[in-house]
Symmetry: C3
Subunit: 323 residues, 3 copies
């Protein structure tokens, strides 16, 4: 959690020590959701969505409520209007309000802001700068919690690692992140963030995908990149299935090869493998029904842990704000 304008933010992997603390805290809250039911009393969380959400919105609201915090949801795109991002823009087109004005106002209304802002997948520079979330950080003067930005989805990754902690028999499990087919151009945030966390936790990470689907190397340094999916999957303890669009040929779809869809037959040499996905999942396109409905699937566990991941982060931010 980096410190800027005297606020603390949760927008990326917070370092192994804090990550460990957050995992333990999430597991504690899973057991005693209302233990700190007064901790956030009088504090307000603004949940600002520039994109749709199911799990993220609901789990964050419940996490806040478990801590006695009030949350207010604003679907910026649907209930308000389009934000201008560009500094110095002459606003004579479709954007109605500059992010610096909106972020400033929201910062005066809330104690914390949680923000979802997907990448453009067309303007690589803006996406790589994580422009929207960073402009919120710059102009709001409040602690920002990422509900998925262009580059990362750190509450998802925390929930994923809470799940791995619950389900792992080993201290250093073999984790495989495998690309899956999809018909739409999908962001890199979940894959980036999961790689960043898994490496940050010092687990053994293998990433497998067709050539041309290499992720931004800033998130994968230290991982084994293996283009042969079957080699990659061998002896895996955890297999994270996820589609992403090309990073090199930015936002494009090169492959939709159904052979990359994970099925039971892919896991013959990984008998212990437990399978993860962040949801929403395209059944029988990314992952087969047999896996999703079978005993290997941790998908519902991950989703349930979203509440306690968010609760751990909010609780940590409340601690940091104490005088």
């Amino acid at each position: 959690m980096k410190n800027q304008t005297s606020a603390f933010h949760y927008t990326q992997f917070p370092g192994k020590a804090i990550a460990e603390k957050l995992i333990e805290s999430a597991l504690f809250y899973k057991n005693s959701p209302r233990y700190d039911s007064q901790k956030g009393q009088g504090k307000r969380l603004g949940c600002i969505f520039l994109n749709p959400s199911l799990r993220t919105r609901v789990s964050t609201q419940i996490a806040a409520s478990n801590l006695g915090m009030e949350s207010v949801v604003l679907n910026m795109d649907k209930e308000a209007w389009a934000l201008e991002m560009k500094e110095g823009a002459v606003m004579n087109k479709t954007t109605v309000e500059h992010i610096k004005d909106a972020a400033g106002v929201l910062g005066s209304y809330f104690d914390f802001l949680a923000v979802r802002a997907f990448p453009t997948l067309t303007d690589q520079q803006s996406d790589m700068e994580d422009e929207v979330i960073n402009k919120f950080i710059k102009h709001t003067g409040r602690s920002i919690i990422s509900l998925e930005s262009a580059l990362r989805h750190p509450l998802q990754s925390l929930a994923d690692h809470v799940t791995i902690r619950e389900k792992s028999q080993k201290k250093k499990p073999k984790v495989v992140l495998t690309w899956a087919p999809h018909i739409k151009s999908i962001p890199h945030a979940v894959a980036n963030s999961f790689a960043e966390w898994t490496l940050g936790m010092e687990y053994d990470l293998t990433i497998t995908h067709p050539r041309g689907y290499e992720l931004d190397s800033q998130f994968t340094q230290g991982a084994t990149i293996e283009y042969d999916q079957s080699k990659a999957l061998k002896d895996a303890d955890f297999v994270y299935v996820k589609n992403w669009s090309s990073f090199e040929d930015y936002g494009k779809i090169h492959h939709t090869d159904p052979a990359w869809m994970l099925t039971e037959s892919h896991l013959k040499e990984a008998p212990e493998a437990q399978v993860m996905h962040c949801l929403p999942v395209r059944r029988n396109l990314e992952l087969s029904d047999e896996i999703l409905d079978g005993p290997r699937a941790l998908i519902q566990n991950q989703a349930a842990n979203r509440v306690f991941a968010a609760q751990a982060v909010l609780s940590h931010l409340l601690d940091l704000q104490k005088p």
Copy 2:
């Protein structure tokens, strides 16, 4: 309320004994809305809308609040994405998440789920199976409350029967359900449910409509079907006005004959008739202004009773969940 996966659901007429109890409970809460203001403390109600709502959403939220329950609204179609219903579907089209995954996750976040899902009016088989609400029941593991499904609108019907109880001079009133013209293809749920409840309460029910507008007979067995509207209306105590599309020629509009619109002149031989409608009503198409704004109208009473109907059902479900 049928029992499945160890949860109780409110999706249809619950039998006369429970219906009587719910009506009495609603009338009690109407008099003392906050009597049980702690009863639902710590419980969460997820209100999932696949279709628009005014009264249903607001009255359900207020009912929950009167019982100290927290409610969270999710407009699935607008704030999230389209759900896949088909088992085994290869999801390479427009649906983003399978109902079994979404229902499972929502079940892990909430204690109760209230779900609105209109019929397709094109896929009769899916509608007759009440597919969406039954898939929520199957996959969520929680008590489901129908906020109107393809087949029924049981919170509306409870509010309607609370209103009849308040306004009836007789133990066994003559109730007439009369079809009204409309320009759009309208679901059968309100009509089905009102018939099911009125017969279940052992009142005298006459249903009148043009030929070709027969409702699904599973809901009307025991009612008098009378194609002559004026004969049907004679000596009515309560006249429920409602449009529905054809069931036989599924979802189609055959008549828009303005002669079927209820006006004062239709009620010459029913001097005591009180007039009901579930709202929203198309004025001067389904029902005339003179009736809606006159002393016969119970429409605002029905709408006001929606709060206490929902409160009675939630209170009953809380009782059933007690250890």
Copy 3:
């Protein structure tokens, strides 16, 4: 606040005495937001939006929460359906529910209704009658708070005058309302309301705009109308920047002359001028970055004061409702 159907409403300038009281109350709450945190307990505020909102919705919800009131937001246009306004309409077109029915129902669910309804900008008669908000008043039987109607935006104006009170060195400051260019047809409500309040507070008000942009004279009687912007701005203490469409040639755009955009160079003869805008602002079209990001700007203060303006009004309405 005029009295109708035994309820009090906040839809226009409430007279100087009450305005003074509301300004003092807002400043008090700004210092002690939770002072009256039990005052609204058990009361419910319905926030009904027929148009988009950011500041207004969030600040009103927070104001209610500061007073212990529950608020429920209904985005009528997005979550429900289109309302019919015309008395006696045969509703065989696109409107789904008559405002008289919806307002009646919402009045039975809530203690107070806050309503946003922009003008049509095409039907001048309807707009001049402030049709939507007045029909809510007529049919709801509850206190109505305007969240911006066709004619006025009185919570904005109260927040504006709280800001002037905070920032003014003088008892009777020179206030200038200056028209600014825009590319869209913009309502008159903010300008009308600011003029009405500023004159009502007995400040010195000059209004400047191109010929053809005269506001409805009912709001500007007593103001100096000056077509030469530079003359108008001379020695100004507060400059309120706002676009509006033509009133005479109703809803039309006649000028987009960039010379009318306020910049530092316009304020050479107004060295003390502080600059106001209600937001959202089109940067470098209505107002230059240099002013918005410079020391003259009161825009963020105005936005922050929206919470306390709403809180003062709700608190006043709670006082009026006491037995």
